[in-house]
Symmetry: C2
Subunit: 180 residues, 2 copies
């Protein structure tokens, strides 16, 4: 499974591509940051983010795009920009028919460090170890994007089993409905 | 001046086109709502909003798109969706090189009713009167989109004068810099 992780932001939008399956060593395919100037108009910044994300989708052809789920209660000053950047990332993926998965920051931290309250340094250290990198990816937004992709690869099997169970249940009810 | 007003929202995104200049009677060119199903995936909803906004831009070719400025402190439960829908509207406009203007809800209310704390009914009544409509546009999101467009037409002259003053000031400094 090849996953593009996106840590959304207007000034720095972290992007990272990880390939692998749960239970096997993972491979980093790319990491970077889409930047937009803080003094540019908001609409132009969103266009620049769209162009950046499109380039990453073109180059890496991910099967899934994992985006950080944004909560309105955190970081009130930056949350609107984060929500808007995440909307652009989701739009780019969905327009191509690529499934979008959302994971909360604590889900991501718990997946890679074992603790939902881990700090940036701990997440960076574990990303470095899990992907066998020479040094932690900089800036932190890039490391967070890789952590999102890892989180998705590891959580996907459980999510898929849940979806399958729900679908089987629905199919069972449907077949019962047809033969009363 | 032809302005597309957008009252952003995931479930109902109000859109309205108004043509005219400050100090003259205004004309409504179109009004409607772009809807997306609440049970659809977020990425697919954003794609549907993009397609809806694109249709309005294609059909009405506005010179400016006026979007409601979203604040994180209001309506915490829906603010993320509002921010994401507004991002899509701004992206569509900026991608075409159409200027985007943001106005706060109280600026819009003050422009059309004289009070920044006016209620929905008052805004709807004034939009109906100012555009000489037979009845208030429904739903309220559609009326709000028209109010945004009216607000922009009426505020634009003052904003333009301000921009011109800033540009003249900058040009003055630049010419002083060249001939020290």
């Amino acid at each position: 499974m090849r996953v593009l992780g996106v840590d959304p932001g207007l000034t720095r939008c972290g992007v990272g591509v990880v390939e692998g399956v749960a239970g096997r060593p993972l491979t980093m395919r790319g990491v970077g940051v889409v930047r937009t100037p803080a003094d540019a108009e908001l609409g132009h910044r969103l266009v620049a983010i769209e162009q950046g994300i499109e380039q990453w989708l073109d180059e890496h052809r991910p099967e899934v795009v994992a985006v950080e789920r944004v909560f309105s209660q955190h970081n009130v000053s930056t949350v609107m920009g984060t929500a808007q950047a995440s909307a652009v990332a989701m739009l780019c993926a969905s327009r191509r028919g690529i499934p979008v998965a959302l994971h909360t920051p604590s889900e991501v931290k718990a997946a890679v460090t074992g603790s939902g309250r881990a700090d940036k340094a701990q997440v960076g250290a574990m990303v470095t170890r899990l992907l066998r990198l020479a040094a932690p990816p900089k800036p932190a937004d890039a490391a967070d994007a890789l952590a999102l992709a890892i989180c998705h690869i590891w959580r996907a099997p459980a999510q898929n089993r849940l979806q399958q169970a729900v679908q089987q249940q629905a199919a069972l009810h449907a077949s019962k409905g047809r033969t009363p």
